[in-house]
Assembly symmetry: C2
Homo-oligomer: 341 residues x 2
């Protein structure tokens, strides 16, 4: 079984208290005693029981991350990169990371948040993929439970977040297309409830408006953020609006699906039609043609989110920090001047 302090104490004929203090490095333990304890602990293969310690200390040194996953073929490079960032940062502060997975907006998801906020087995939570009206955030605010979200919401709540400035990003990208000569630009928007999509769409609308270009409602279709979704939305767009010369997709995955769809129909992307995405996933540079997109440093965002949360947990902020990052425009081959017709 597991070696405990009690075992060490018994073996040495001293009290548990002394063992505990020796191990913890308190100064009021005789040097010789300390050595004997350390030595014996080593020999017996002692290792502290974290649960017990945490129960006593009333802090878990664990942060929680509830992944919104759409089963079953769920595969989004965002998450591995984000988790790597969060996990590495957490580890460097000696925090554990507790991950659970739940379908977004499901009952089980809310239960998980409830449990997390009240179950006392995580000190704080990280939220991603915020929604316009985000129940999760409302819940945590109400409980005053520490959390940091990657993404904002449309509600007037004051909480800690780090977010991309998607509006500015898409404006940059849209302007790039306009500068190339495009006038009729389609937009595959993220699902309505996804807050990031809101900003991205807004950036598109503003850029068009600022250039006095009209946007027909049919130019905007919704996509579900997967390649498949991008492919389907592109099909709708091309069916209804063949006059479009460029398409911006709400993320790279959809952009890749959209390119695929265009290519199926014999269009040459980067010539007959321009396509752009958002995220700069590693594959964006490797698809054919390589994808023009907006770069988000997901790994760094993961780290930053985690660091902010740990600082928050430890009361190192007087006010919830809020960070906005401007994505970087990466121009590749999928965007070019419109075919002169």
């Amino acid at each position: 079984m597991h070696v405990t302090q009690k075992d060490i104490a018994r073996k040495l004929g001293i009290s548990i208290t002394t063992v505990s203090r020796a191990l913890a490095g308190y100064s009021d333990v005789a040097e010789e005693t300390r050595q004997r304890v350390l030595q014996t602990a080593q020999e017996m293969g002692y290792s502290p029981h974290l649960l017990a310690r945490r129960l006593q200390k009333q802090r878990t040194d664990t942060i929680g991350f509830i992944m919104p996953t759409l089963a079953p073929r769920f595969s989004d490079p965002f998450f591995s990169e984000f988790i790597a960032g969060v996990g590495n940062e957490a580890a460097s502060h000696e925090y554990d990371l507790l991950v659970s997975t739940h379908p977004p907006e499901s009952e089980s998801e809310m239960k998980a948040y409830e449990r997390a906020a009240k179950g006392g087995w995580v000190d704080g939570l990280i939220i991603v993929r915020t929604r316009e009206k985000d129940e999760r955030i409302r819940l945590l605010c109400q409980y005053k439970f520490p959390f940091v979200s990657f993404g904002r919401t449309n509600e007037s709540l004051d909480f800690a977040y780090v977010d991309e400035d998607g509006e500015t990003g898409i404006k940059l990208l849209t302007q790039h297309l306009i500068d190339l000569g495009h006038r009729r630009i389609g937009f595959i928007r993220p699902p309505k409830d996804m807050m990031a999509g809101h900003f991205r769409l807004q950036g598109f609308m503003k850029a068009m408006a600022e250039n006095d270009l009209p946007v027909r409602p049919e130019w905007i279709v919704e996509g579900d953020m997967t390649q498949r979704g991008g492919e389907q939305s592109m099909a709708v767009l091309l069916d209804v609006q063949p006059g479009i010369t460029a398409v911006i997709a709400g993320n790279d995955l959809m952009a890749i699906g959209a390119m695929h769809c265009a290519q199926q129909r014999g269009l040459e992307v980067g010539k007959d039609i321009s396509v752009a995405g958002f995220d700069d996933i590693p594959l964006a540079a490797y698809v054919k043609p390589s994808l023009t997109t907006l770069r988000q440093p997901i790994y760094e965002i993961g780290r930053m989110t985690c660091r902010m949360l740990i600082d928050l947990i430890n009361g190192r902020f007087s006010h919830p920090p809020q960070v906005l990052l401007v994505p970087q425009l990466i121009i590749r081959s999928s965007t070019a001047p419109p075919a002169s017709d």
Copy 2:
């Protein structure tokens, strides 16, 4: 603060024990008492303190997953899909998933395993990306700590695993290329210490041998499993061995990099040269040309691995289960008969 059973007990003027039993659904509690307890618990917003329960029960209902991550731009669709599978399965058994991240073969990684095996805060571990000589597995076997790995090793240890039959898979794929008429086939092999790579290479060698085809040592180059790595290895291959008509990459990411490299040099993939991968990541169908590959149902593997671990933890096996899955050959456009020259 946190509402405890004690609070409920005090409020109702009954003992903590009764509260505990009412909540746990024991039958020896008066129906009326039970109702009052449940009701009050509800009103006061009680929620069990999991750490305390776990400490008492001496089981954590948590499984651990130590992700081998190569920082900093770590992005591998494998992990998000795998975690989703593990996480969903874990959740359905009411297990939590504790994730930590460490660079493979690092000291910190081994410390993490040590802590996990002895720290008593996870009931079992999941291992992925096994190595030929895998210290992690040796350690856990030695401690008799429950774990299931996705992947085998080259050592004679008896432990629970689920693995792809990479050898059979690659044989299928190699035979496909040979049947198309290819004779000079290159192989971008995974790093030497990666056990899966071992089997994949072996499948290639065997298929070639069975068809009495020679394999020149220069046809085999190592790649680091990223697109970049695939690109670089392909460059080496094409520089040294321009006569090659087909290349198999150790995974899809490298295959995509390899295609990119070939295309940069003006070769048409799926015509001038064939390229194939392994994994069938979702993007494989969306790159240009679409990638011939071997499908591994990662999500399902994640679920299965997790389920096996939970069964193992609960002593539902007399012998460590070992499962081998044959990947499915998915033929797409990146492979075709060699250009007749």
